[in-house]
């Protein structure tokens, strides 16, 4: 176990290092950020001076070395637009994104598992076919369009739910949460529902496929034969064996949700780190883009690691190597 952990941590560091090279290299293609820093009427000398201050006159390898040294020292640079440390900006907005992603994920799981179990247990029923067609439609829906339609119908036409912002938040354990206040709860419904669609569809399909495979196996027949009710067989015996692929996909989906949260936040003006990323791309705020990507990469590496450890907890047959 210990040697596995050490190996994994080493792998994680290598991955993050490679990501830092890619991100840094790609970002140096995006044009000269000097012009973001100097006034419009700056002279040649002033521009050259600013470029020197930013370290852009040095060769690429040296620039990357400085970048890496700063990151390791915890200095992620300052935003050109906000004139604040970029990492601070991201951390400030992270709770909003995480909150939305978690609500969407919970929503998806709560709906996907029962529906998937049903569709897998009774594949011939009309309802099951309807569920499957619906899930295929869910995968085909453009996430941004769903959000717009929800805004148009529920916020513009019928004026039931608000369409932008987080609403009132309540401070708990150092972070502001929307879901704890009635107003904030209203605000989170539409973004979370928009975000959960494709995840819901994918989790549902995985659960169903696993369910159909498991239901054919002998231990299910045996459980029925010993007199267990069909419902208890479904949820106690079968579901437990379906969970492993669901957990794998869950980890991947968590990443996808964070990715698609950028679009959802953009539509609903949700003040999370995804919206910050889009705004920074528009304004060419290079340090914020770099820190966002490094931070998200870090997050994914941790998620993957956690998923691998969860496997062993669900299924003792899997050994960590």
């Amino acid at each position: 176990m210990i040697s596995y952990l050490i190996k994994r941590v080493f792998q994680m560091v290598v991955v993050l290092w490679v990501v830092s090279i890619i991100v840094f290299t790609m970002m140096s293609f995006t044009g000269d950020p000097t012009y973001m820093m100097v006034p419009l009427d700056a002279t040649e000398d002033e521009i050259a001076n600013a470029r020197m201050l930013l370290g852009l006159d040095k060769p690429y390898i040296v620039q990357y070395g400085i970048f890496l040294k700063n990151i390791l020292g915890g200095d992620f640079g300052r935003s050109f637009v906000f004139r604040q440390p970029a990492l601070g900006l991201i951390m400030e907005r992270m709770p909003a994104t995480v909150e939305m992603v978690l609500v969407a994920m919970t929503l998806a799981l709560l709906l996907a598992i029962p529906l998937g179990v049903f569709a897998g247990a009774y594949p011939q029923k009309k309802t099951s076919r309807g569920i499957m067609a619906g899930s295929l439609l869910g995968i085909s829906l453009p996430n941004f369009w769903v959000g717009m339609m929800l805004i148009f119908i529920l916020a513009v036409r019928f004026n039931i739910l608000p369409s932008s912002g987080r609403g009132d938040t309540l401070r708990m354990m150092g972070v502001n949460l929307s879901i704890l206040t009635p107003d904030g709860f209203k605000h989170i419904i539409l973004p979370a529902v928009t975000l959960c669609f494709s995840t819901l569809a994918i989790l549902l399909r995985i659960t169903r496929a696993g369910m159909m495979e498991v239901m054919k196996q002998d231990f299910i027949k045996f459980a029925r034969a010993k007199g267990a009710t069909f419902r208890s067989v479904l949820f106690k015996h079968a579901l437990k064996n379906v969970l492993i692929p669901v957990v794998t996909i869950f980890g991947l989906q968590l990443g996808d949700l964070i990715g698609f949260a950028t679009i959802t936040e953009y539509i609903f003006a949700w003040p999370g780190m995804g919206k910050l990323l889009i705004d920074s791309i528009y304004m060419g705020d290079r340090p914020v883009i770099v820190v966002y990507l490094m931070f998200v990469a870090f997050l994914f590496v941790i998620i993957n690691f956690t998923v691998d450890v969860i496997y062993t907890l669900i299924d003792p047959r899997i050994k960590l190597r």
Partner: protein, 297 residues
Amino acid sequence: MQRLLRKARALWASEFAHNFRGNISAIVGGVIILFFVFIVAFGPSLVKQNPYEIASLQLTDAYKPPVWLSGGDPNYFLGTDGQGRDVLASIVYGTRISLFIGLSAMICSSLIGASLGLIAGYYGGRLDGVIMRIADVQLSFPSILIALFLMSAFGKGIDNILISLTCVGWVIYARTVRGSTLSEKQKEYVQAAKAAGLSNRLIIVRHILPNVVTPLIVVSTIQIGTFILIEASLSFLGVGVPITKPSLGLLVKNGFDVLLSGLWWTSVFPGAFIMLLVFGINLLGDFLRDELNPRLK
């Protein structure tokens, strides 16, 4: 002619065609795809306006609602946008751009991905390790974020979208093809080809490739839909296609700006077309996967 007819009859009688006819969702998917093929081929000659010809636009016709609402103009079946552009015509031209990007990205990424998968699976060793490590790491990042990042570095443009989508999409091909290649490599026909003294390259191209084409087709179908959705998302965020080449996603974005004022038709219809197109592709892809997967039979 006679031979062609016989071939068509044989195809119609084949198991594949029989299963297709018995599968409602496959038929629906097929009809949707035929509809889009029709739009792409004949659409521009059927709509009255070319949305790229600025001279043909009438600013006085801006924001006309669809024809069945009061104030609708029979010339503009689905209404017009802020420049008096026919929404239906924009959709017809936008569909062509979206489909072109989806198909080209599929071809580029399958060529690169499948080649890498074949090489990794056939030769194995260190090369295999490196390619699959990269694929593993890349797969743990959401493709939309990778594409978004690449587009923000490259800038707008159809060529840049194709590059980004290829960077995102090769992984899935490489993995699928590598898996199939590994199992094909063990089989006797490959051993026989080796014993006969064929070069590795010939074995890969002539013998292994034809046998890994089936999973490739399944993945490709579904990937077209995925690529179209990613392109639409990028264009919606304003980092995708340039304004002069509006894909369906960019049309939705343009409509988004006026949605809150109740002008819904400029964004609802293009979005519905994206959904329909991807839905049709997914229905067919699902059918193909079940049909071509020998494990399920």
